[in-house]
């Protein structure tokens, strides 16, 4: 037998969508996490409820690199429909576990083959009711795998207890199949592959969460008061998490709600409700994905022009059009940067980790209310729907910023002398009043047509220009309220990398590999917001070559950078690729290496 390979491989499980494998896969993921091994899990699923092939790929990596790995060292084949493909996909020297009721030819001799009597083990357990057999069948592969690679059974039990919220019956039912699998493997299988897991202490103090839950919780700590939404993959679970956690965290002692969530009839209405709520002084948010963003564009333009605060989460999926609804992408950046007809500048936040999904959840409201404008937060399916290791969520470290709002006593003090769109402070940000204000001079009329600083209708050319120039000034003011980029420098760096969002783990792994294997050191700027703040242009200016890494076809961010910084345009090299799957380090380092070797 070859040398043991410990804590550095991927496990991919091929099942049929809707067969209940997600409990099993999450159990493996969580058990590995509880063993202290850095781990990630990506659900590569079809747009379908039941029947189509689906895969779950887990990466374990002792060094902490948890981007998706492009190879499959261990494959678990539970689905006859993808059996041949799954078999072919196993890396040479890898291991292939399969449900032995699948009677298909196995034509590989370079890998270890392990049949699993899944159906037989389930049927021979008299405690399993017939209607649950298919569901718990997945636990057989958990047990066999655990035995064969060394997953701690007590950690599996811990994971199941978490999953079933300590309900004894489902935990024991599932554990009985895990144990049956493990026992069968002990008695019947001989290990011939080199892959093992061993406990470490690298996940201590970390949590495991998905980005949509993190975003919802962050929004709750940001005081979200109104959410309007419409179901869409991969954003639905964000609003659903609001529904789950708001009653726990945001009811008064006498059980009254400080929030309202409305499932709208479509995305046009979802954002319309949020614009209304934001205008009326509520911290309002919506969450959607590309097709929903297309529909929301109309109201987004009005909110920008009428200066209404709201927060819009775009959990990006693959476009254009319906695209690949269950696959990830960073394809909306250029669109959102100019979301609407006419001259528009958007404020965009780009969380690059799960804890930042939480942080930007609350921070986005402060920025929106301070600037009186829509704030877009661009997440993606990989963040939104997959479980990630993360540092714990941090309680907001600054008080809420409710922006410039005049209430009755403020109007009394200034004797009602105010104008909704006057630039009193010279920062481009006007003052506003809110419906319900009982001062007789509080009311004003909001419109999407041209208006004076006093909010009166106007078609005067000068008035129009003054308004648009003030909005531009406000956009400049915004820079001081936005999160700055994170810059990681290396002594002797040959080039720079700019990236954002969920590609971060793949970028870090690519940098390490380029340095380790090719001596190519790099600096890395992780962009966290648009408009670009000064450190971005400084970073580009300091490097002859800057690779801009992103998950889209056209290098959208690289294009935006080129437009805003034409003096640096020739330094920017796109590393843009998008096939729907979460990025691997390989596509980044190989693209950069190819350029560097030119």
């Amino acid at each position: 037998m070859t040398q043991r390979i410990v804590n550095d491989f991927s496990i991919t499980v091929g099942t049929a969508n809707g067969s209940g494998s997600s409990t099993a896969n999450n159990t493996i993921l969580r058990a590995l996490f509880k063993m202290g091994i850095p781990v990630s899990g990506k659900n590569l699923f079809p747009s379908n409820i039941q029947g189509l092939p689906t895969w779950y790929t887990i990466r374990v990596n002792g060094e902490g690199f948890t981007a998706r790995r492009e190879t499959h060292e261990i494959m678990v084949a539970m689905n006859p429909a993808s059996f041949a493909r799954d078999l072919a996909d196993v890396a040479p020297g890898g291991a292939f576990f399969y449900a032995d009721d699948i009677k298909l030819p196995i034509n590989r001799t370079d890998i270890s083959i392990y049949p699993m009597p899944v159906k037989q083990l389930v049927r021979s357990n008299p405690d399993i009711p017939a209607n649950l057999r298919d569901l718990v069948a997945n636990m057989v592969y958990v047990g066999i795998l655990a035995q064969m690679i060394g997953i701690d059974i007590t950690k599996i039990e811990q994971a199941l207890k978490f999953h079933f919220k300590n309900k004894e019956k489902p935990v024991s039912l599932n554990m009985s199949m895990v144990k049956a699998g493990a026992e069968w493997a002990t008695a019947n299988l001989t290990k011939s592959d080199p892959f093992y897991v061993e406990p470490m202490n690298k996940t201590e103090g970390l949590i495991m969460a998905d980005g949509n839950t993190a975003a919802a919780l962050g929004s709750i700590y940001g005081g979200v008061q109104f959410a309007g939404w419409y179901p869409i993959t991969p954003a639905s679970s964000l609003a659903e998490a609001l529904n789950e956690y708001l009653p726990q965290l945001r009811q008064t002692q006498d059980g009254k709600n400080t929030f309202a969530v409305v499932q709208a009839e479509d995305e046009l209405a979802a954002i319309g409700m949020c614009v209304g709520a934001g205008w009326a002084g509520l911290r309002a948010m919506t969450s959607t994905s590309g097709p929903g963003m297309s529909l929301m564009t109309e109201y987004a333009g009005l909110a920008y022009f009428a200066e209404v605060p709201l927060v819009i989460w775009d959990v990006q999926r693959m476009g254009p059009s319906t695209g690949l609804p269950t696959r990830t992408s960073q394809g909306d950046v250029a669109f959102v940067a100019n979301m609407g007809h006419g001259d528009i500048d958007s404020l965009i936040l780009l969380p690059g980790s799960i804890s930042e999904c939480f942080e930007f959840g609350w921070r986005a409201f402060d920025i929106a209310e301070r600037l009186q404008t829509p704030v877009y937060v661009l997440s993606d399916l990989d963040f939104g729907m997959n479980q990630w290791m993360s540092t714990p969520f941090q309680y907001p470290d600054v008080p809420m910023d409710r922006g410039k709002v005049l209430w009755e006593e403020d109007l009394e003090r200034i004797k009602g002398d105010w104008g909704r769109y006057r630039d009193v402070d010279g920062d481009g940000i006007p003052y506003r009043t809110l419906p319900g204000n009982t001062h007789p001079l509080s009311a004003y009329f909001t419109r999407g047509t041209g208006h004076t600083p006093e909010a009166r209708y106007s078609e005067e050319p000068d008035v129009w220009v003054v308004k648009m120039e003030r909005l531009k000034k406000k956009y400049q003011t915004a820079k001081k309220y936005l999160p700055r980029s994170i810059v990681r420098q290396t002594e002797g760096a040959r080039f720079g990398i700019i990236a954002y969002g969920s590609t971060d783990p793949a970028v870090e792994e690519a940098r390490a590999r380029l340095e380790r294997e090719h001596g190519l050191k790099s600096d890395y700027l992780r962009l966290r917001a648009l408009p670009f703040t000064s450190e971005v242009s400084e970073f580009i200016a300091a490097h002859e070559r800057v690779y801009v890494v992103e998950m889209n076809r056209d290098g959208q961010l690289q294009q935006l950078l080129s437009i805003k910084h034409p003096e640096h345009a020739t330094r920017l090299i796109p590393v843009a690729y998008s096939d729907g799957l979460p990025p691997t380090a390989k596509w980044i380092w190989s693209a950069i290496l190819e350029q560097e070797e030119k």
């Binding site: 495991m208 009254k256 949020c274 614009v275 009326a280």
Partner: protein, 364 residues
Amino acid sequence: MSESLPMAGATTQVNAIGLSKNDYRGNPTTLCQGCGHNSIANQIITACYEANIVPEKIVKFSGIGCSSKSPTYFLNRSFGFNSLHGRMPSLATGALFGDYRLKGLGVSGDGDSASIGMGQFKHAMRRNINMVYIVENNGVYGLTKGQFSATADQGLELKKQGTNLYLPVDICMEALASRASFVARLFAGNAKQVKEVLKAALAHNGIAVLDIISPCVTFNNQESSYYSYSFGKEKEDPLHDISFHAASEGPQSTISYVPPRPEITLEADMIDGEIREVKLHDGSAIILKALDKDYDPTNRLEAMRVLEDAHANNYLVTGLIYVAPESPSLTDLYNLVETPLNRLKEKDLRPAPETIQKINDLMF
């Protein structure tokens, strides 16, 4: 901030809350002379004045079109938002969560509500948002100069457009089908009826759809048109005489001051014939005096029948078509805190610091 312009020779007479009619006015209209929408704006001013409405308790909404311009022609002391074409209902839905004590007053048109905004119109009904939803219905697009709207008569001929091939949408029927809790059809030329129904609509808890036939003097006022003044004058057939009586007891309105007064007394001419009283949630009452025969506006099936009958027999049925006075409005369903949401402070909105540990513990 106020857009009010000083009005020469204005009356100094005040209502029970000490406001003059000027306090309810808006800017001068920019619509055509004789436009039905102007007379509706005037009735809104009078109704609010007479009903002692606090202007700051009303929030005006509109979409896009001639009708949607009109919220600037009344209630300058009320907040207002002229939104997007067909998208007024969603904006109003969100805005009214800001302070549940406020009443929405929306003005839309047949283009805004029956075409581009049909979806939002109908969903506003089923959510029963707390607003008066006026459709100033003239069967034609005015602001874009004379195209057919979705309520235009089949066979209508318009310059540049030819003949309308399609059947008209009936706003009241759509509202009923979507389970609106208050539906009226009115004729802008019948000012008293418009005014009284407006008062009742403002007192109603939930959505009140007023489909007001409001002739477009520029593009669709030819005698043959259902939407012309002459048709309305000749063919209007009111279901009843309507008068609105503010509450004298019971839970009182949050948007108006109700002076103490004795029991409702009916004027002499109201006593003849059959009288029907509909009590609203705040203790106010709509008094309906039967004309030809008694009509029960709480019966949805009957409501649909009278609408259908008017179509079949080519007349303009007006009055309170339907009302369900006890339906909860949208914000009633949300178990909200007593303080309006938009007056909550950080301490009400940000969970306590110790909760974060509990949340992190939930993240395996």
